[in-house]
Symmetry: C2
Subunit: 420 residues, 2 copies
């Protein structure tokens, strides 16, 4: 066996052991660990930033883009936001051990489902080092152990953050191995991780489509993932035009580089002439380039290129957006079914029947009526915080918060019942 | 591309298409299909049994055991039980489209989770042909499409049952492709099925450990499975002896060949001398052979062999059972953690604290207090019917009923909300 294999196997075994202790950990200890971690992030800020500087210097040498360097930087603001995350997650209700309802069987057996941790979670993520904290705190709150594999560009930053996390766990009386970071940038470590189905219960990749496909292809255990967000808004004929323009503007412009940003606008032909010129003024004025189909082009000409087939179903992640005029809701829903990515889909309408039809029939992790696609986020939907968004249906579909990092077991209270 | 590959791919594509229609199917039509199917099973009984006879004749030629031939036989009784299944599942509530709760965000957005089908389910199972009906009706009730791959011994029986199922769907106005059977006994068809991650959302294997391991190793999509049931009962020192003997007898003897039957009895040392002789009389008298550890042997001698290490963690599936005397609950729970299979575990005790500790700490799909392990069954726990029992935690842990064949999507009602 190679050294890397032994290294990763040892981490896996220690994580499994830690996960069994975490399963019994009290809410008090888990919350205490998160509060201690928050304090440490403040007290050790200088140390953290010194280690972060090593990554930043290497990044500059390697000629990384300023956007990437920006995402790598553990500024005071980023550290504050990690601390805020710790405190917020400490205040969330502890899902573990809860039984939502118990029902009584005809023989008197009282049956329910108790929430339990998943076990060991493997996180594989790219450059942003704050994920080390943000993901770790959710896993710990749900009584799991986590094995973190961050991007090589953030190696020193991730190391110091994981070290502090283990220290905080230990000070709170919890196993320090509940949070472990793979201590090498060797890519072979990822392949070894993906083979550890005996020790890692689920893998959550976060990053570009390439990373996620590689993880899905290699993993022997289940993977919770989303590939991309190709989000649509369909504007029905019966709509408040000004409200629609505000929602479309927010969905596309507020933060264009994220997965819940709008990528394609579908407009009912009866309101194209009243809606699209206003969309053009407002979004075009903000720098949006429209990839417009033939029927919408004339209203958006000033800010548009003619759409090509490949512009539909494309995740622009910048101030570009496809636009298409449709004959009716059937055509809109067929378009979404064909080009959507099961991420976020919205209808804007005053018509109740059409709103409910869209809600029921469209297959996406979040389906909205009269609101911006930007709400597909654990915090915005009320989950507290999220570790990622799943666009596949098994186990979790949509933002994954603390609860989605748990499972349930059946429990039953008897009084001597036997089966007849 | 080979013929088999084309055949299976075509089935996959048709299933995906059918699943989209099924997602919109009304409760009324789904229930109607199940009622029609029940009627057909009665009306076509002669035809079904003629086809079944072809399988039985081949089985005899091949020299299959009488137990296997018995499991293959579609007797009047088995057909009646399939009919009963149709009617029971028709009467279950339809989970699809339900929203259990909606919460209001500070901005007024009303958020909830709506239950939706999983999509296309692949069932791979061994000889019992009634699974074709039992599994199909649950998949259809949950608005899924299903691709069935039954055992080669039941080829003719499965074909006729699937054909009738498609006809019933069609008569109820639903897509006949929602239930399809792989129409060949070629084993290459299974490998092809396991590669169709684009068309099959989840695979559920049912059968021996060998079949299940092969499916897990080959499948590109998630698998919901259980390998085996090594179920324990731990008898605490503070217990009603006679009640305990009744529960142990029921768990081991009522139906020893199933996954929720008792395989290992753990007894607190303080009650070994009062409990074990009674267990010996009752179970030994019923033909149970004990694999007894040193401390229990003297009480069970008449019906016992000395236990070997491999008798612990072993799924006997017959009238044999391991027995071990333990010093305390710690030792019992460590034994279960080491040798258990996360299936079903029970404690018998009058002590509340120890009951609750066992319930919380033991990791199994069903944990019972003062009741028989035989209750780990969808029907017995109140799910209506089950398609199998999952012993892995992702998505479902324990018996999987109609609800476990669904997922949820987030839905949100807005009034023009944008994200700030």
């Amino acid at each position: 066996m190679s050294d890397i294999r032994n290294l990763v196997l040892d981490i896996g075994k220690r994580a499994k052991k830690a996960s069994k202790l975490m399963a019994k950990a009290s809410t008090e200890k888990k919350n205490k660990a998160l509060v201690i971690l928050s304090d440490m992030l403040e007290a050790e800020k200088k140390y953290i930033q010194e280690e972060n500087k090593k990554d930043l210097e290497l990044a500059e040498k390697r000629g990384l883009s300023s956007a990437k360097i920006d995402r790598l930087t553990l500024s005071d603001k980023v550290i504050d936001s990690m601390r805020k995350g710790c405190m917020e997650v400490a205040q969330l209700p502890d899902p573990v051990g809860a039984i939502e309802t118990m029902w009584k069987r005809p023989n008197g057996l009282l049956v329910g489902k108790m929430r339990i941790p998943l076990g060991v979670i493997g996180m594989i993520y790219e450059s942003r080092p704050n994920v080390t904290i943000d993901a770790g705190i959710l896993c710990v709150k749900a009584s799991n152990a986590v094995i973190l594999r961050g991007g090589s560009e953030a190696f020193y930053s991730n190391q110091v953050l994981a070290k502090l996390f283990s220290k905080a766990l230990s000070e709170a009386g919890l196993p320090e191995d509940a949070v472990q970071l793979i201590p090498t940038t060797d890519r072979a470590a990822v392949s070894e991780m993906l083979k550890l189905e005996e020790y890692i219960d689920v893998i959550i990749p976060r990053g570009g489509e390439g990373l996620i496909r590689a993880v899905v292809d290699g993993a022997k255990m289940p993977v919770l993932k989303h590939y991309k967000g190709v989000c649509h808004i369909y504007v029905d004929e019966d709509v408040d035009i000004d409200e629609a323009v505000e929602i479309i503007y927010n969905a596309k412009v507020q933060r264009p580089g994220v997965c819940n940003a709008l990528e394609c606008l579908l407009v009912h032909e009866k309101i194209a002439s009243s809606l699209l010129p206003k969309v053009g003024e407002k979004l075009g004025g903000a720098g949006v380039l429209f990839k417009a189909d033939k029927k919408s082009f004339k209203y958006l000409e000033k800010w548009a290129e003619e759409a090509k087939e490949e512009d539909f179903g494309y995740e622009f992640l910048e101030l570009k957006m496809a636009v298409k005029v449709v004959a009716n809701q059937d055509e809109a829903q067929e378009h979404i079914s064909l080009y959507g990515s099961n991420h976020t889909e919205a209808i804007l309408t005053n018509n109740h029947q059409r709103a409910m039809r869209f809600l029921k029939e469209v297959d996406a992790s979040l389906v909205l009526v009269n609101a911006s696609t930007r709400f597909n986020d654990g915090g915005e939907l009320g989950l507290g915080a999220e570790i990622g968004i799943s666009t596949s249906k098994l186990h979790a579909y949509g933002p994954m918060g603390v609860k989605e990092l748990t499972s349930t077991k059946f429990v039953a209270f008897g009084e001597g019942q036997i089966r007849t």
